[in-house]
């Protein structure tokens, strides 16, 4: 255990780093805008209309989305790893993404099967968000019902994986019968994207995310007890079923809404908790939870800045970057420390 003073220093450094990353992120993009103009634009004293659009309506919401996505997925990944005592678990083990993907696959590729009737009713700017929400919500509801029935956390893990297999199979059938454009649409959703939320949508995302974060804070004590194993936690007087429900609900809220709005963002949920544990050398969730929050937000902002390929006309899909940057970092940390903190 390190001393609390040192923790305070690391937290302070991370907070400063987050602020730096945030400003770096909004100052970089395809269009080069001088820093002075960015500050002017934010304070509303610039008269360049296209820069105003770029900064206020595109880069700022994108940066906030990145922070929400990184921190939310990091925290839900941490909770899943602790609940299932499995270092390979992530926010999507419950089948949430599979449910969301299935919803999106049905609206983007289902036209061939349902003859467009479905879309005539559905097509609007909310279609993809609604489809993803509905899909993940149905899977989540099933998982919640199951979690109150089964005794063993591992059973929930397996059930989540099974949902994944079922929806993957349905998606395959749908893809087989769909046109190139529909396939492309579905795949592009799978790349994830941070930059297509308006302020209004961002607000909805934030409200649900904040609810998920509050629930996760309420779960800190249960999470620390669960580290010792379920039986031991019971002997400490922990109500296992109630804690499990709390943790799963929080994770689902976070992972479900983030996936609905930004698509299935890869890797972050799995890797951030590991990076954090290695840096902080602790398994105490009182420390880990806020640390994962900061790390997640920082790394996602950095990934987005890279994905924008500053000053070039091209952008890369965010999912490619998260894994390309994230995986080597985790490998390097594990090799350097020679053992995994878990």
């Amino acid at each position: 255990m390190q001393n609390p003073k040192k923790y305070q220093l690391i937290f302070l450094a991370l907070t400063l780093l987050l602020i730096v990353c945030f400003f770096t992120n909004i100052s970089l993009g395809s269009i080069s805008i001088p820093n002075r103009a960015i500050i002017k634009t934010i304070f509303g004293t610039s008269d360049n209309v296209s820069w105003h659009h770029i900064i206020i309506n595109y880069r700022l919401p994108k940066a906030f989305t990145a922070m929400i996505v990184g921190s939310g997925l990091g925290i839900s990944g941490l909770m899943m790893q602790t609940l299932f005592r499995n270092p390979l678990a992530g926010p999507f083990v419950l089948g949430i993404t599979s449910g969301a993907s299935l919803g999106v696959a049905i609206v983007t590729m289902g036209a061939s099967l349902f003859g467009g009737v479905l879309l005539g009713v559905l097509a609007s700017k909310w279609t993809l968000v609604m489809a993803a929400t509905l899909g993940s919500f149905l899977v989540l509801l099933t998982v919640l019902i199951v979690s109150t029935k089964v005794r063993d956390a591992m059973a929930i893990l397996i059930i989540g994986l099974m949902f994944g297999s079922i929806s993957a199979a349905v998606v395959n059938v749908l893809s087989y019968f769909s046109s190139a454009e529909e396939l492309q649409q579905y795949f592009f959703w799978g790349f994830g994207s941070l930059g297509n939320l308006s302020w209004q949508e961002l607000l909805i995302l934030f409200v649900l995310y904040a609810l998920g974060i509050l629930l996760s804070l309420a779960a800190i004590k249960s999470l620390n007890s669960l580290l010792l194993g379920e039986n031991y936690a019971k002997s400490l007087g922990l109500n296992i079923k109630k804690s499990r429900l709390l943790i799963i609900t929080s994770t689902s809220l976070l992972a479900g809404t983030i996936t609905a709005f930004a698509g299935p963002i890869a890797f972050i949920g799995l890797a951030i908790p590991h990076i954090t544990r290695q840096v902080f050398s602790t398994s105490n969730h009182k420390i880990l939870l806020p640390a994962v929050f900061l790390f997640g937000a920082i790394i996602m902002l950095i990934c987005d800045s890279i994905a924008q390929l500053p000053t070039s006309d091209y952008t890369l899909p965010i999912n490619a970057i998260t894994s390309l940057i994230g995986a080597p970092v985790v490998i390097w940390l594990l090799v350097r420390k020679r053992k995994m903190m878990f």
Binding site: V107, G120, V121, N196, L245
Partner: protein, 379 residues
């Protein structure tokens, strides 16, 4: 249990965020003249005293929505009754287009220089526009599903001509959120070849060039109908096969598709003419071989460049008589500098050229001194 209720509530909150579209009938007391649209079923143009109204009823197959666009030349002309309509202020000096099929229409109307941005400019083959891309006048906006928003916002176009395969398009939604008007081009849903070409009137109206658009369309129509009349005088109808395989699925134009319409107008006997699909149908190899092995001509065999290529991709292709007699044609004769097929770009606007090519293939020597424009014979 309390959690479940909470969750259900938050979900309900979500599903209630759907925006309603209302369509009002136009006021009948206002004097108006409707533009005559002869073949296209997906749009209408009505000219009022101070503004023009375009209604697109078929932006994508099976669409239940109609989109109203009001074109005005002055702010004071914006009609009071404009609920759910998109207002487009003319003159339009800067546009972003999304489909290469818009490029020839812009060139024919001499407004290609208004194009300032396009996703994946590498697909554009038309010469005049290519030159504008090469000199940096037209910016590349990444691709149509993931538009580079920063570049787009810097361009500040007056209008975006987009399309949607099923009503869901992330990039277009985002563009609308920023307050840029988007019109949907539904030309690709038309079932008659001339119907697709007639959408030049839609583009013409946007640029206040309705007369030019009408004249261009009329000459294409005349050319098409003359060729068709000539072909119908021939007694024999050669049997025609079309399409090619992807993996082990053979994609064949359906009997009600616009490709089948060409085969009909060229006076040929298309094997699947009695099928009722207006898209493409997926068949297995045995089925196609059984029905089409003896077909005389094979027109539109994917984008193969030679008989050798075909045979290498699937040995089964060589079992067909059309293969043995070297009667296979693909639309790969004209390839743009960046590898785009001109057939896909110019074809929708020039059905007369496609029809004449097919007539020239299936009834050789009927058209005097005609050289195929899009189609080439594979060796």
């Amino acid at each position: 249990m309390r959690f479940l209720i909470l969750l259900s509530l938050s979900f309900l909150f979500f599903t209630s965020c759907k925006d309603e579209k209302k369509n009002h009938p136009s006021n009948p007391e206002i004097v108006s003249t409707a533009e005559k649209i002869k073949y296209a079923k997906g749009f209408s143009i009505t000219n009022y005293k101070n503004y023009t109204e375009i209604i697109v009823t078929s932006p994508w197959p099976g669409s239940q929505d109609a989109f109203r666009y009001l074109l005005v030349d002055n702010d004071e002309d914006i009609p009071e009754f404009r609920e759910s309509a998109v207002i487009i202020k003319r003159p339009i000096t800067k546009i972003v287009a999304m489909s290469t099929t818009n490029i020839p229409a812009l060139e024919y109307l001499n407004v290609e220089d208004r194009l300032v941005g396009f996703p994946s400019t590498k697909y554009i083959s038309s010469e005049k526009t290519r030159a504008l891309i090469d000199n940096g006048h037209i910016k590349d906006l990444n691709n149509d599903l993931e538009i580079n928003m920063e570049l787009f916002l810097e361009l500040q176009p007056d209008l975006v001509i987009g399309f949607s395969v099923n009503g869901i398009n992330k990039s277009l939604n985002q563009i609308e959120k920023f307050g840029y008007p988007v019109v949907l081009d539904g030309s690709w849903t038309e079932e008659h070849p001339l119907g697709r070409a007639e959408w030049i009137k839609f583009i013409g109206a946007l640029f206040n060039k309705q007369d030019e658009a009408n004249a261009i369309f009329e000459s294409i129509e005349t050319d098409y109908l003359e060729a068709k009349a000539l072909a119908l005088k021939i007694k024999e109808k050669p049997v025609v096969l079309s399409g090619s395989m992807f993996n082990d699925v053979w994609n064949v134009p359906g009997g009600k598709s616009y490709i089948a319409k060409y085969f009909e107008d060229a006076n040929t006997n298309y094997i699947w003419k009695d099928n009722t699909s207006n898209g493409s149908i997926q068949l297995n190899f045995e089925n196609v071989l059984n029905r089409a092995r003896q077909a005389e001509f094979w027109i539109g065999a994917g984008s193969f460049q030679s008989l050798e290529d075909m045979k290498n991709s699937h040995k089964g292709y060589s079992y067909f008589d059309a293969f043995k007699n070297k009667n296979i044609y693909t639309y790969t004769k004209k390839i743009g500098p960046k590898g785009g097929l001109l057939y896909y770009e110019l074809g929708p606007l020039r059905p007369d050229l496609i029809l004449k090519d097919i007539i020239n293939i299936s009834h050789p020597h009927l058209l005097k001194d005609y050289e195929n424009y899009f189609f080439k014979r594979l060796d």
